[in-house]
Symmetry: C2
Subunit: 344 residues, 2 copies
């Protein structure tokens, strides 16, 4: 129905397309009087420049891509994703960008970037879930696409923009906190350690134990999908061992909820019998008890990360010659009701 174009709009105004276009895009060489007239007419007819045509003419699509990998086993999208894009999306909207999403599984991921680049349908892209030896920065540099990595890749030689939290330090501190409470048998329930963030968390965990002369027990360390079920089954299993842990260091509040359920199953009290410290992404739908936190946790808002990644990417797109931006955020350790002195 609707859909007036520049041509007819300018005809209605008795002006050339050039003038109307310039007025609408804020160029100076048009008198204020006519600009006002034009703006008003554009509003009246609900005119908006055809995105495809504009992209063709300018070479900029005003569109940013997110390629989100699908876990092949569970066809699962990382549940933090909703919050991330809600942060990023807000920034995009205010800057006049659109967000395009590609959910792809495994091997097809590479192609997704190639495709988006070759079709020229985006100006830049956010890289989610970087892994060890992640090939994407190299690919994107080669494709000439602007990008920002949410997280880090350990092994890329080139300079690239990223925003990460200090995962190693977070887990170092969380683990030390447990050690200070007298816990010596500590379990780690982690995400897949193929992901950079999880590898760093494990390193922090082990570093803390090492510094107290404790060697990490492999039977108390598990990596996997960060679900409630993982927390539950792992905790059940570990607590049934000969020398069960008195504390759990876990990578998400979802896992922590599973651990709590296992404790309930076994009639154990959280904090008194077994302590739990988690990493909390401050997801909007998992508020970890507003006023007094349920779980002791290292916290860092995924939504804030989404916002900041978007800002950085836009800045990179609009100024590609500038130096890459890198930020490393510290997570905050908040004491909740899930930790206490180790039972004696």
């Amino acid at each position: 129905m609707s859909g007036i174009n520049l041509k007819s709009l300018s005809e209605k105004l008795g002006l050339s397309q050039t003038t109307v276009s310039r007025a609408l895009n804020g160029y100076p060489e048009v008198s204020e009087r006519t600009r006002k007239r034009i703006l008003q007419a554009a509003d009246e007819y609900n005119y908006r420049a055809n995105a495809g045509a504009k992209g063709l003419a300018t070479g900029r699509t005003m569109r940013i891509g997110h390629v989100i990998p699908l876990n092949d086993d569970h066809q699962m999208v990382n549940p933090v994703f909703g919050d991330f894009i809600s942060g990023a999306g807000d920034v995009y909207a205010n800057a006049g960008y659109e967000m395009v999403l590609s959910v792809v599984s495994g091997e097809k991921e590479h192609d997704a970037y190639r495709d988006l680049a070759a079709k020229r349908s985006i100006d830049g892209v956010i890289v989610h879930g970087p892994r060890k030896n992640d090939p994407r920065p190299a690919l994107l540099d080669q494709l000439g696409l602007s990008y920002v990595v949410h997280g880090r890749v350990d092994d890329y030689d080139g300079a690239y923009s990223y925003l990460d939290i200090n995962n190693r330090r977070s887990f170092l501190r969380a683990t030390e906190f447990m050690l200070d409470l007298g816990h010596t048998r500590l379990a780690l329930l982690n995400g897949w350690e193929d992901f950079d963030f999880a590898a760093r968390r494990r390193a922090g965990f082990e570093e803390a134990l090492d510094s107290r002369g404790i060697t990490a027990d492999p039977s108390l360390m598990l990596e996997g999908e960060m679900t409630e079920t993982l927390g539950h089954s792992a905790a059940r299993r570990m607590l049934a061992q000969n020398n069960p842990p008195t504390g759990f260091v876990v990578s998400s509040t979802m896992i922590a909820m599973g651990v709590r359920r296992a404790l309930d199953d076994l009639g154990l009290a959280i904090s008194r019998d077994v302590s739990v410290v988690a990493h909390d992404d401050v997801l909007s739908y998992l508020d970890n008890g507003n006023a007094l936190p349920v779980f002791t946790a290292t916290r860092s808002s995924i939504r804030a990360a989404g916002r900041r990644c978007a800002e950085i990417l836009i800045q990179r797109i609009e100024n590609p010659k500038s130096d890459p931006v890198t930020e490393l955020w510290e997570a905050e350790l908040t004491i909740g009701q899930s930790t206490g002195r180790a039972p004696t």
Copy 2:
């Protein structure tokens, strides 16, 4: 870097752009020999048609929009969203469509649709989270944009495409199941009843009680954000009443997890002391205990809904004259470990 266009590709081949274009788009009027040559060259140079230019020429952008509303209070994206788009995204990818996302809050939602339509950046749109008196179908019909509603709007006169689950019936059955177990004091923890799905669930709940001559107790019915916290605090409060409920009918497994935590707090055993039945969206990251379900639940996969909505929408886009498609799915009631006979 990369980025060859039709012109240079056809020059390399010594053919006209017409022929190359036709070959690539599968038109018959080009000999198999040349088509093969062209396909090969296209592959070699990694040629892909510029999306904007193609859209301009054809009038079809091969892009589908999802406008997802942001809860203003919590800046929260519905956590089922990840699964929905992972289902839809897969269908899009296979059909050659891209997905564009707009996360917008409250009053700006209307504008988002207007914008996308006026800029001609999408061919169609999925309507999420329909509410009572939802104005969007009327708006979209007026804008001439193809769409399909995930859920239903109660009050729209026009014919429109939707995919919904039978929420009323689900909650009717779940409630009857509880009644059959001897529970007479039943609580309902629901999503915001401004949403169509939640209103229907409540209707089903009340209908079941009515049919047994029980009148629903307003102090046992709550609507709100479907979080763990809601389940926890509501259950705590309701169980502290004079005449506490022996069963909870709740709208998500997230809420159910909160109820379970409240029971643990109070030293009550789930199923023996208090029963819980939930609606389960079968989210990939909340698998409700793979083999034996933790919660008794009415189940319907959100991912499957995403897939189907996408299929319907594509069909509508490619064949706009066809009649609207409407589907109503029945949820499946699966018995888990969270329900038992009412204590006597």
